[in-house]
C-alpha cells in the first residue's frame, strides 16, 4: 500500500476488503445473467440438441456443428445479408447524420426542442417500430404505396413480399430510426471543438469546405469511428424490428445473423446448431468491441487522471 499511485483515492482503514464487497453483487449478476449464458452457448454448440429432446440425452457432436456451419450456404447467405444491410444503413446514416450536423451545428434558439424531437425514434420500442413500418409498407393499405401512386403514378408494390423491396424496406426503417443517433453524437462532438481552432482557420482564410474537411472532420475523427463501430455492433445485435416486419423473409432476404440464430433455434428447432452460430456471432461482436476499446476506453483512460 505504499506504492505511489498517480490517482488520488480516498483511503479507508480496511481497504483490502471493502472494494470486493462493493463489486461482488454486480459481478455475480453479470456472471449469472450474461457470462453463464455465453458459456452455455459454447457448451451447447457441441451437442445436437433439439426442442422437445432431453438435454441430458442430446448426442455429443464434437465440432460437427461448426463444420456444418462453415459449409452451410444459409449461414453464408445471412452473413452476406447482414453485411449488405450494415453497409447501406451505416453509409447512409453516417453521411446524412454528419451532413445534417455540419449544416445545423450553429446554436440557435429552440435547438434543444428539436433535439428532443429527433431522439424520439430512438426511444420507440423495436417491436413498435416494426409494427409501424410493416403497416406503412403494407401492399394493400400501406401509406407508402398510396403516396407513391398519388404523387408519382407508381403501381402498388408488394414491399415486404419481394426480396429486393423488403431489403430496401428494412434499410429504410433503420435509417429512420438511427440517423438521429449519428446526428446527435456528431453535433455534440462539433460543439465540443475548441472555438479557437475554428476561428484560426477562418482568419487564415479557409472557406467552408476547407474548414469542414481539413479542420472539423479530422478533429472529430475518433468520434466518427466510434459511432460507426457502435452502429456496426447494433447491426449484428438487432433482430426484433425484422422479426416483426418480415420474419426474415421473403426467403432469407431480410434475415440478419441474429434473426437467423433465433429462427434456427425456435423455428427449425435446432438449438445446438443455433448455438454454434451464436459462437460465430459472439466472436464477430467481440472483435468489433475490442476495436472500440483500443480506440477509446473511458474507464481506462480516465481512471489514471
Amino acid at each position: 500500500m505504499t506504492v505511489l499511485t498517480q490517482s488520488r483515492k480516498p483511503r479507508f482503514a480496511a481497504e483490502t476488503m471493502t472494494p470486493y464487497t462493493f463489486i461482488t453483487p454486480a459481478i455475480l449478476v453479470i456472471l449469472g445473467g450474461l457470462l453463464y449464458p455465453v458459456f452455455m452457448a459454447f457448451y451447447l454448440s457441441f451437442y445436437d440438441w433439439e426442442i422437445g429432446r432431453d438435454l441430458a440425452k442430446a448426442p455429443f457432436m464434437g465440432v460437427d456443428n461448426f463444420v456444418r456451419m462453415v459449409q452451410d450456404p444459409q449461414v453464408w447467405e445471412v452473413l452476406w445479408v447482414t453485411l449488405r444491410f450494415g453497409f447501406w444503413t451505416i453509409t447512409i446514416e453516417m453521411t446524412l447524420g454528419v451532413a445534417l450536423a455540419l449544416l445545423l451545428e450553429k446554436p440557435i434558439r429552440g435547438a434543444s426542442f428539436f433535439r428532443t424531437i429527433f431522439i424520439l425514434p430512438l426511444m420507440v420500442s423495436p417491436v413498435v417500430v416494426g409494427l409501424i413500418w410493416r403497416y406503412l409498407f403494407d401492399a394493400r393499405i400501406g401509406w407508402i404505396n398510396y403516396y407513391l401512386g398519388a404523387f408519382f403514378g407508381i403501381e402498388p408494390q408488394v414491399w415486404l413480399g419481394d426480396a429486393d423491396l423488403a431489403f430496401f424496406a428494412i434499410v429504410f426503417t433503420d435509417i429512420w430510426q438511427w440517423t438521429p443517433f449519428i446526428f446527435i453524437i456528431v453535433i455534440a462532438g462539433l460543439q465540443a471543438l475548441p472555438s479557437e481552432v475554428v476561428e484560426a482557420s477562418t482568419i487564415d482564410g479557409a472557406n467552408w469546405y476547407q474548414q469542414v474537411f481539413l479542420v472539423k472532420l479530422p478533429m472529430i475523427k475518433s468520434i466518427l469511428v466510434i459511432a460507426l463501430l457502435m452502429r456496426l455492433i447494433d447491426v449484428f445485435r438487432g433482430l426484433e424490428v425484422m422479426l416483426i416486419m418480415t420474419g426474415g423473409g421473403p426467403g432469407r432476404a431480410t434475415e440478419l445473423l441474429s434473426l437467423h440464430i433465433y429462427n434456427r433455434a425456435f423455428d427449425t428447432q435446432q438449438l445446438g446448431y443455433a448455438s454454434a452460430i451464436s459462437v460465430l456471432l459472439i466472436l464477430i461482436v467481440f472483435a468489433i468491441s475490442t476495436a472500440i476499446l483500443t480506440m477509446a476506453n473511458p474507464m481506462k483512460s480516465k481512471s489514471d487522471v
Partner: protein, 275 residues
Amino acid sequence: MNDTFQRQLYHYSALIFLALIALAPIWVMVATSFKDDVLVQDGTPLWFFFHPTLENYEYILTRGKFDRYLTNSIIVGVASTIITLLLGGFCAYALARLDFKGRALMANSTLLVRMVPPAVLAVPAFAFVTLTGVDSDLAVLTFFYTALNLPFAIWLLFGFYKQIPVELEEAAIVDGASPLQVFFKVLFPLMTSGYAVAAIFTFRIAWNEFILALLLTGRTTRTLPVGAAGFITDTGIEWGRIMAMGTLIVIPPLLFTFFAARQIIAGMTAGAVKG
C-alpha cells in the same frame, strides 16, 4: 442582418422538415389507433379526422389482458431498474474510487460484456427454462434484464463519479465515515443526475425488450411488447387494435424523452464524445 435572417430561415425550415420526418410514422400509429376498421381498411392516408373512435382502446383495455401485461411490465421495469442502479452504483463507486486487485481487468471487460447480443442469450435462456421448469417467473426476467443493463449502468455511473471532487469524501473519511456512509450520505446526493440517466436507459431496455420476454414469460407473466406481438396472427393483423397497443407502449418512453431529453442525450453521447 438580412443575411442572418435568411440563414436562420433555412436553418429552421430544415429543422422543422426533419422533425416532421421523425414524428410522422409515430403519428401515423397514433392516428390509426383512433380509426375504426372501415377507415383502416380503406387505405387512404388520413392524418387528421373528425370522428376518432375509442373502440380499439376499449377492446384492448377491457377484453385483452392489458392490465396484466401492464402490471408485469411495470414490475419488471421498476424492479430491474432499482436493482441495477443499486448494484451498478456500488460497483462503479469501487471502480472509480477504490484500489483493488483486478480493477483494471474489470474496467476493461465491463464494456465487452455490454455488447453481448440478445440473440446469443435466447437459446441459453430457453435451456434454463427447460432445465429448471421455471418458465413464467417475473423474477427470472428481472434477473436477466438486470444483467443486461448492469455493464452500461456501471460504465455510465463511473463517469459521473469521476466528476465529483475527491475532497468531499476525504473530509468525510477523516471524520470517520465508513465506505457505506460515504456512498449513501456524501456521494448519493451528488449523483442524482447520474442515477437519473442510468434509470432512464435501464427502464427503457426492460420496457421495450421482446425476445427474452417472449421466451421467459408464460400466459400470466407476459409483458406489453409480447402482448402486442400477440395481435399478429396467421389470419392477419387487426391494425387498429395493435396500433392502440403500440401507442400505449410508447407513452412512457416518450414522456421520458420530453422531461429528460438532456439526460438522454448525455447518456447517448457519453460513449463517443467523452472517450
